[in-house]
């Protein structure tokens, strides 16, 4: 008995001890659990602090803009493809009349545009309704419809050419809560999280309601996530569905609600939310979405548009109004109904909004434009603004790009190269691995603006920019610098005129210890020819003689003064373009011809502005007189002959009719084909060749000129072009085109030739063979 009692007592103590032991273990376990929980919460807290508690929550892509489009009477809106530009600028075609910002309407006698607001560097522009009165497609007058004022000039805002994204590829424009219309806020809260102002991040009532609805429907019809949870999911976490993600989402939502006001959370949500896809980048935030889907600032959205945007959050691609207008309208009306039920809008407003048509701008077909130009811009800015800065700081980079020119140039390269490969397949090397490549540059000579740049045929395939990175022999496109040197009496110390006779017969000269004998492309010699004929027909032998006569050192100096920075040596082959140059250098150097001997530095970036509107970089046009305007004019006048009669005459056959001058270029074994040509206002350079220097058996006139003609026909044929400005000390007299002598009735071809005053030929055409060019002794 006693023994049993002892046993029982012992058993009781043992149980107590066991319980104590268990209690201790449990306490330790709970302590560890609590510590781990605390540590876990601390980790989440740190993630929130590191990313969300910052004033800058998102990496904002920097944006590259084109130049503005200036409109004034005389402009042909069809030849500038203005309506296509309005579409690219996300204006909306609203039929015959305009009602609000972002609308345009074209009628037979006018084009009306309600201009967008735009922040230019140093200027905040407020949009207004504009009327362009037309005669056919030519602007006859411009009227501000708001004030009734007649304007001499107006402009369309620059186009956004590209965004420089980080790896998340999110396109976003930040808004503050005060900029967002009340309707949009109410619609989003009504449709996504009706109890937003009543919960603390997670809403058990909402979850229970969603579970009940889903259970009733037998499928997922409603989510229980609060706005805060959606924000956390998008901002911090991956979209994958898992228990841990949900768990973290809930914990972080509670944490965020503890640390931030409802207003801050709502503002972050409005900026974060995913609303669709544009190519490879996503449209994030309501502001970017308002611009993309409705061509408006978010503050300008109507009730109906706000309801649609709020409705799209659930499934942006399903309710995309650009693709599925029916579904979008249905969804919009559901949201409007919900707003009415919740007494957020009146019945009248509900009825009105339901009847509003959905008008969206046309969707951009071209997703990427000017990729090579963008790379060039980035490279220009790299010193102060490296890639990671461009990806995060939301800078706005204003460039000199003319989008119309750029699009025409890109089309010309793709179409004409394909045509060449089709038409001249027999000339091209068999089984060559690479494609024929090309480069097009357009420059505005008067200020050095780079207006268009195509650095290759397909950026996706090869990012190598042949315009700025490629080094190629220029061939005969170098010759104008020889002629410019010769025709400038101060540079050459010679009295050479367009009528001077050159000897185009074979000769040999020692160059670097080796004999050098230039040959013509047609393998013939042409005897005595004028300076004009030698350049128009691109005779190598005569040009080499002229370069030696004018002084090879001087020719090198001329090229350097014009802007060629690649190393050149004063050897005879220099005259025929044997030294490699970059196409961009060549375009800049040629710009001295239409610019009357003034060298304007090429410029691509004009301004860099921070997201807050501070101009941190302002690049000015720079120019300097480098050449005597008379000698420049004479050379330009010779190059006009290249297009009118010479090796570039195919330009006329290809439909280019305006005043222009230029020069073809073909290198030995037909490895490079060039054409550089210009009007008084525009200069275009085209290069065609293979990246590996393979022979293509096509000359500049055959391969490069068609691209140039197609491009310039579209961008440079303006009725206001005029002629090249003739300096006061240049006179024009009638000569015989073939021998350059003064014109008499007995001469064959009458031609108006330009001379520096006092250097006109005295001999008449029938005497000229007597006065041959005195060749230097070493020939």
């Amino acid at each position: 008995m006693f023994g049993r009692r002892r046993k029982t007592k012992r058993g009781f103590f043992a149980t107590i001890r066991a319980w104590i032991r268990f209690g201790k273990r449990l306490a330790i376990f709970l302590l560890i659990l609590a510590l781990a929980g605390l540590y876990y919460m601390h980790r989440l807290d740190r993630i929130i602090a590191a990313k969300f508690d910052q004033p800058r929550k998102w990496n904002l892509p920097s944006r590259v803009f084109s130049d503005a489009e200036y409109l004034y009477p005389g402009i042909d809106i069809d030849s500038r493809h203005l309506v296509a530009k309005l579409d690219r600028l996300l204006y909306r075609d609203t039929g015959t009349s305009i009602h609000g910002p972002g609308d345009y309407a074209r009628t037979a006698s006018a084009l009306e545009i309600y201009l967008h607001d735009f922040e230019y560097p140093n200027e905040v522009f407020s949009g207004f309704p504009l009327r362009l009165e037309l005669s056919g497609s030519i602007i006859t007058s411009i009227i501000n419809k708001e004030s009734g004022e007649k304007l001499d000039v107006t402009r369309l805002e620059p186009e956004m050419v590209a965004s420089v994204f980080d790896e998340r590829m999110e396109d976003r424009t930040l808004v503050t809560l005060s900029e967002v219309p009340r309707n949009l806020l109410e619609a989003i809260i009504a449709v996504e999280d009706n109890r937003f102002f009543r919960h603390h991040g997670v809403d058990p009532v909402g979850i229970a309601r969603a579970m009940f609805s889903n259970f009733k429907a037998g499928r997922v019809v409603q989510g229980g996530s609060t706005l805060t949870q959606q924000l956390v999911k998008n901002f911090f976490l991956t979209p994958q569905r898992s228990f841990w993600r949900k768990f973290n989402e809930a914990l972080m939502s509670l944490q965020i609600e503890r640390r931030h006001t409802k207003g801050e959370i709502l503002q972050a949500y409005l900026n974060e939310i995913y609303l669709g896809q544009r190519g490879t980048s996503s449209i994030s935030g309501v502001s970017e979405a308002a611009k993309f889907f409705f061509a408006k600032n978010v503050g300008q959205l109507t009730l109906a548009e706000s309801a649609l945007l709020a409705g799209m959050i659930r499934s942006p691609n399903e309710y995309n109004p650009m693709k599925h207008q029916g579904r979008a309208k249905e969804r919009r009306n559901t949201v409007l109904g919900l707003m009415w039920e919740n007494k957020l809008i009146s019945e009248a407003a509900y009825t009105r909004a339901k009847l509003e048509p959905i008008v969206t701008p046309k969707q951009k077909v071209r997703v990427v434009t000017a990729p090579y130009f963008i790379d060039f811009v980035k490279q220009q800015l790299a010193e102060f603004y490296p890639q990671e800065v461009l990806e995060s700081e939301g800078l706005r980079i204003f460039t000199t790009l003319d989008m119309f020119s750029q699009i025409v140039a890109e089309e010309a390269v793709v179409a004409e190269l394909a045509q060449l490969e089709k038409s001249y397949a027999s000339l091209l090397p068999k089984s060559h691995s690479g494609l024929l490549q090309g480069c097009v540059i357009e420059m505005q000579p008067s200020n050095g603006y780079i207006r268009a740049m195509v650095g290759g045929r397909d950026y996706a395939e090869s990012q190598f920019n042949r315009c700025t990175q490629g080094r190629r022999q220029p061939g005969s496109t170098f010759k104008p610098f020889v002629y410019l040197t010769a025709l400038d009496p101060i540079r050459s110390q010679k009295s050479i005129t367009p009528s001077t006779i050159l000897d185009d017969s074979s000769f040999t000269v020692q160059s670097g210890g080796e004999p050098w004998t230039p040959k013509n492309y047609d393998q013939k010699e042409h005897g005595r020819v004028t300076v004009r004929t030698a350049l128009e027909q691109s005779y190598n032998i005569a040009t080499a003689r002229l370069a030696i006569d004018a002084g090879l050192e001087r020719v090198v100096q001329t090229a350097a003064d014009a802007g060629i920075t690649s190393p050149l040596s004063p050897v005879p082959s220099l005259a025929l373009g044997a030294f490699e140059v970059r196409p961009l250098e060549m375009a800049a150097a040629y710009a001295i011809f239409p610019n009357g001997g003034i060298r304007a530095e090429p410029i691509a970036v004009m301004n860099v502005v921070t997201k807050d509107g501070l101009v941190v970089e302002r690049r000015s046009i720079k120019m300097k007189r480098e050449f005597d305007p008379a000698a420049v004019y004479l050379t330009t006048n010779l190059m006009k002959g290249v297009i009118d009669r010479g090796t570039g005459a195919a330009a006329r056959a290809l439909g280019f009719t305006g005043i222009a001058a230029g020069k073809t270029g073909t290198t030995s074994s037909y490895r490079d084909a060039w054409f550089v040509g210009f009007t008084p206002q525009k200069l275009g350079l085209v290069w065609v060749g293979y990246d590996d220097n393979a022979e293509m058996k096509m000359s500049g006139a055959r391969a490069a000129l068609p691209i140039w003609a197609r491009f310039m026909r579209n961008v440079a044929l303006t009725p206001n072009a005029g002629d090249f400005a003739r300096p006061r000390n240049v006179v024009t007299i009638k000569v015989d085109l073939k021998n350059g002598g003064r014109y008499k009735k007995s001469c064959k071809d009458e031609f108006d030739e330009a001379f520096i005053d006092g250097t006109e030929p005295e001999e008449s055409c029938d005497e000229i063979h007597l006065q041959a060019y005195a060749s230097p002794d070493y020939f």
């Binding site: 009477p73 140093n122 102060f384 490296p386 000015s620 206001n720 400005a725």
Partner: protein
């Protein structure tokens, strides 16, 4: 003795707190001042004594009829630039003159005013370049005299 030691302890503590606070403030300020990218300060717009463009300016040179609307548009921008110039807003003035030459590359008056702005900014080399271009386009005697006058100021 004890009182002394406790007061020195308090003093040390106070000093520590002050040091800690000042170092925290210094760190905070330093962080604030260092931008995440190399920001260029906006250009200092130096205002040099320079005669304001005279009210009785010669009329802009005539242009052929076909180029008139283009010149007029460009001229309107020159006028806007002149207004900014008079209020010493050189950045905006420069912007307008640059737009003017972009529309009409033969508008010599716009180049003349680009030179004026460059000179005011102390950019003599740039001013000379613009005057080279203005000189080529403004062949009219009165304008030519104005160009020469400005060129003399660059010497």
């Amino acid at each position: 003795m004890r009182r002394n030691s406790s007061s020195s302890l308090r003093l040390t503590r106070l000093l520590l707190v002050v040091l800690l606070a000042s170092s925290l403030i210094a760190v905070a300020c330093a962080k604030k001042r260092r931008p995440s990218y190399k920001k260029l300060p906006p250009r200092q717009e130096r205002v040099e004594p320079f005669p304001a463009p005279s009210e009785e300016e010669p009329a802009p040179p005539q242009v052929p009829e076909f180029a008139a609307p283009q010149r007029q548009a460009s001229h309107r921008l020159v006028e806007k630039g002149k207004v900014s110039l008079q209020s010493n807003d050189l950045a905006t003035a420069h912007q307008h003159f640059q737009e003017a030459v972009s529309i009409d590359s033969n508008n010599g008056v716009a180049y003349y005013y680009l030179a004026v702005v460059a000179l005011k900014n102390g950019e003599k080399e740039e001013a000379r370049g613009f005057l080279d271009k203005a000189e080529m386009l403004l062949i009219d005697d009165e304008w030519n005299a104005k160009v020469q006058e400005l060129r003399n100021q660059l010497q």
